[in-house]
């Protein structure tokens, strides 16, 4: 490397001094470039890339997290067990169920809210903040709060239902209602986030399009159908993708509210990884689930892109 650099420098010697200093400066710039990258690069290598690689390695082993010296190589044992483990299938089903409901409902609601606050009304800012306020509240606070809202005896929601003459519901205590209760809360918590993205998209649509359409006699619904939705297409694709990736990672809500129960109806893949790895200390098995989990996340986001891009 040094040799070629010198060779180049000599070849350009007959030319001006400026060329030489330019070359030197380029080399300096490259050195600076690498040193600017170094701190972040080192941290990311050690705490993101290395554990990512280790997950694949650990997936083929069996060991107790606290006794890594007793690690045993077990080949495909974890994966073979995984595909016969009913708890894995249950967690996978729960995760996909949550995702399949939350993504369309939350994105649909977010788009509706964005349309509601895209007008210059006097109280628009207040409405926006109301929809956005659950987003900045931490999930721990929200999950604990909603345990009390969902309380079967004296929760706020049951008091409200009671006032309407509807019988009290068990919510989180019932295998039939627990996951749907978590879904309702999660949609409420995060819709404001997607709303903000849609709102920015809506404000990027040229006003002339709407003016032209209303001159042609298009009503508001037709404007939505033929101008708003097509103009937002890329934003919708983006929002669906990030919401899907978010939804698949569901953990904090079931951890705090139900611990996977009742009858495993709210155990998700992320919770399953945690329980296997840290409660039962099966580090190898938990790593194998992590690998499968990662593959599912990648597959889902590719699938979504492919489905939505090819139109």
């Amino acid at each position: 490397m040094n040799g070629t650099m010198q060779g180049e420098a000599m070849a350009s010697a007959p030319r001006s001094h400026k060329m030489l200093s330019l070359r030197k400066r380029k080399r300096q710039e490259a050195i600076m470039g690498y040193s600017f990258l170094l701190p972040a690069g080192l941290l990311i290598t050690l705490f993101l890339i290395l554990p990512f690689g280790l997950a694949f390695v650990f997936g083929f082993t069996r060991f107790n997290l606290l006794r890594p010296d007793q690690i045993e190589f077990r080949g495909l044992e974890n994966y073979l067990f995984l595909f016969t483990d009913p708890l894995f299938y249950r967690s996978l089903y729960n995760t996909l169920y949550f995702t399949a409901i939350v993504v369309p409902v939350q994105c649909g609601l977010a788009l509706m809210l964005a349309l509601l606050v895209n007008q210059k009304l006097r109280l628009t800012n207040l409405f926006r903040i109301a929809y956005f306020s659950p987003v900045i509240t931490s999930m721990t606070v929200i999950a604990i709060l909603w345990i009390y809202l969902y309380n079967p005896n004296d929760g706020l929601i049951n008091s409200f239902l009671h006032a309407l003459g509807i019988p009290k519901q068990p919510f989180l205590r019932s295998p039939d209602q627990a996951m749907n209760s978590i879904i309702l809360m999660s949609v409420w918590q995060a819709a404001g986030y997607q709303m903000m993205i849609f709102l920015a998209g809506l404000q990027g649509i040229p006003k002339e399009l709407y003016e032209a359409a209303s001159m042609d006699g298009a009503n508001r619904f037709q404007q939505l159908r033929y101008i708003t939705i097509p103009s937002l297409y890329n934003v919708i694709v983006f929002v669906l993708t990030i919401t899907t990736i978010q939804a698949v990672k569901l953990f904090t809500q079931p951890y705090i509210m139900t611990n996977g129960g009742p009858e495993n109806t709210t155990r998700t893949l992320a919770l399953f990884i945690y329980q296997q790895g840290f409660q039962f200390r099966n580090a190898g098995y938990a790593s194998a689930i992590s690998v499968v989990f990662f593959i599912i996340v990648v597959l889902l986001s590719f699938l979504l892109r492919k489905l939505l891009r090819d139109r």
């Binding site: 600017f36 509240t137 931490s138 721990t140 409420w188």
Partner: protein, 276 residues
């Protein structure tokens, strides 16, 4: 539908949705300020959402039972350190990827983008293994160091620095400034918005940290505010008012931060959204 009718429809729809959206948080704040008996007496009517006799009793009693101030300090400390050191490390990296010429730059950029998809949950086992091997469990290092380097922040910085005009940088270089000097003296002062945006995005993300602190902190010493409230609500005797007081208290710092930096936070969300 005429414009006036449409406006009326929008007001009505917004009013209903706003009521639905703020009810839970409003009930939390209002209940935290009420005597315990009032909370239950008011449950069946609209009074549940209105403050009756305002008192800080719940806060005082809850703070006697658990050291909320200490938990708050712990969280403020480690989250702030993550944010500040993250700004330094990730802005340098983002600048190199945006404006400096060197071999392999485009490949590294693709690497940063690809790594953004790796979910934290899928690396948590081996990450714990590494942190444990380093002997960091139950130290600040475990809470802070793994999260300083952040691909998402690097990408945000890179996108912002791309728009800095090259002429300014070249002029500074011709004046004999090194890239470091150019970055600190010229680029950083121009980039207040992106630093603020990355700061608040990082802060709100890590303020909500839950899974990782459960794993790497065991005792009271480093207990974060999120773990504090989680422990408190399972600690008998259960009083609604006191629990709501701790929840409200935990949310206050974020509300204050949001009030000041709202614009930057929302820009952070929408910028990635519309460009991505």
């Amino acid at each position: 539908m005429s414009d006036r009718k449409y406006a009326a429809f929008l007001y009505a729809a917004n009013a209903v949705m706003t009521l639905l959206f703020i009810t839970p948080l409003l009930w939390m704040v209002v209940s935290s300020l009420k005597p315990e008996t009032h909370i239950f007496a008011d449950l069946n009517s609209i009074k549940a959402l209105l403050p009756s006799s305002v008192t800080l009793d719940n806060y005082i009693k809850a703070f006697h039972r658990i050291p909320m101030m200490k938990y708050l300090f712990n969280s403020l400390f480690y989250v702030t350190v993550i944010c500040i050191s993250g700004l330094v490390v990730n802005s340098l990296c983002g600048y190199a990827l945006a404006k400096l010429q060197f071999k392999g730059r485009d490949m590294l950029l693709s690497g940063v983008i690809a790594l953004m998809i790796v979910p934290f949950e899928s690396i948590i086992m081996p990450l714990y293994f590494i942190v444990n091997t380093l002997g960091w469990v139950d130290t600040w290092l475990a809470l802070i160091v793994p999260f300083v380097g952040n691909c998402f922040s690097i990408f945000m910085f890179r996108q912002f620095f791309m728009d800095v005009p090259n002429e300014i940088l070249e002029a500074s270089a011709i004046d004999g400034s090194s890239p470091m000097k150019t970055f600190v003296r010229i680029v950083v002062p121009l980039s207040g918005p992106v630093f603020t945006t990355v700061f608040i995005l990082t802060f709100i993300t890590h303020w909500g940290d839950f899974l990782w602190p459960i794993l790497v902190t065991t005792g009271e010493k480093l207990r974060t505010v999120q773990l504090g409230i989680q422990t408190f609500f399972t600690l008998p005797p259960v009083y609604y008012g006191q629990i709501m007081a701790t929840l409200t208290f935990t949310t206050l710092p974020i509300v204050i931060l949001f009030l000041f930096l709202q614009r930057y936070y929302i820009e952070g969300i929408t910028h990635t959204g519309v460009k991505g």
